[in-house]
Amino acid sequence: MSTSSIPLSDAATGSQICLDRIEVQGVLRRRLLDLGFVPGNIVEVVQKSPLGDPIAFRVNHTMIALRKEESSLIFGEYVGGDSL
């Protein structure tokens, strides 16, 4: 596993992350996979709420808000975007 992998909850607004693992379990894991949170897919961090939770992500052209509980268990690497 790459060392530059970070949880989505720590990714900067505007950045794009290529996912490498999803550690959420159970039915919610299934739901996230169905929504497009799959290894290899690119997720864009669209917006953070004032308190940083939830965070809105764009995946498969759809906006999805996740709580920190979940986004801290989804990992990937920066691949681009305008935050860096």
């Binding site: 999803i22 379990q25 299934r30 497009g36 290894p39 052209h61």
Partner: protein
């Protein structure tokens, strides 16, 4: 005249009911699925030389998250085994829609993929390579506009061919990791022994490895047995199998 049963599956808002209404007209009835508050619509029509009974399944993004809608759609395809399942896709968001298409292709080979809203895709300058989709998925693929009644003849032509057995599609088989494939191989003969071959054993094996309690419950209900022996053979991999 033989009556073929056709199920319409697809994501929400892909035009299933529009297609259903176009084909069945007024010959339709609605009710609830047994024991569920999920709406069921069924209709009849004839097309060419065949008669069809069509079921409009609830729109879902997946068949595995165990919502009531998803259970209805999954159970219908697995237990009622329609002669053809038409998977209706939204031409303007194929990437998201193909998830469900792949799930259905793992359950049954008698599938026709129907790319709807082709008018909208054209308007947005989206070109869709139907031949390539058909080749990659291993099933017929037709573009339609249900609202404008375009492509319905071509769709029904393929549906009738699959229903009558004139075409036997060979859907792409999604390969999983070595570890999962080994477990599937182990489970398949046990499943065939327990349930017979009326169900797709590979698919059942994958669901068991996925720890899909909802499916086990449905299986038990259908078999009208307090427990299905196959449960005991389950291997405790709680990790979800992903496409």
């Amino acid at each position: 005249m033989r009556t073929y049963t056709i199920a319409l599956a697809g994501n929400p808002n892909t035009g299933k009911s529009t297609l259903f209404n176009t084909l069945t007209g007024l010959r339709q009835h609605t009710g609830n699925w047994a024991g569920k508050t999920v709406l069921m619509a069924e209709g009849e029509f004839t097309y060419g030389k065949s008669a069809f009974r069509m079921i409009d399944l609830p729109g879902t993004y997946s068949l595995y998250s165990n919502s009531a809608d998803e259970e209805v759609a999954r159970d219908y395809i697995i237990f009622e085994q329609p002669d053809v399942t038409i998977v209706v896709l939204d031409a303007t968001s194929l990437e998201r829609n193909l998830n469900l298409a792949l799930q259905v292709l793992e359950m049954t080979s008698r599938v026709v993929v129907c790319v709807n809203l082709i008018d909208e895709a054209k308007k947005r300058g989206v070109r869709i390579d139907l031949q390539m989709i058909s080749k990659r998925l291993g099933v017929p693929c037709v573009a339609i506009s249900a609202r404008n009644k375009i492509g319905i003849d071509a769709l029904m032509e393929q549906v009738e061919k699959v229903a009558s057995g004139e075409i036997s599609p060979e859907p792409v088989q999604i390969p999983y990791s070595k570890e999962i494939e080994e477990k599937v191989k182990e489970l398949q003969p046990i499943i065939a022994q327990t349930l017979g071959t009326r169900f797709p054993t590979r698919w059942i094996a994958l669901r068991l490895l996925d720890g899909d309690e909802g499916l086990l419950k449905s299986l038990r209900e259908r078999m009208q047995e307090p427990t299905v022996p196959v449960k005991r053979e389950r291997i405790g991999h709680e990790q979800t199998i992903c496409h």
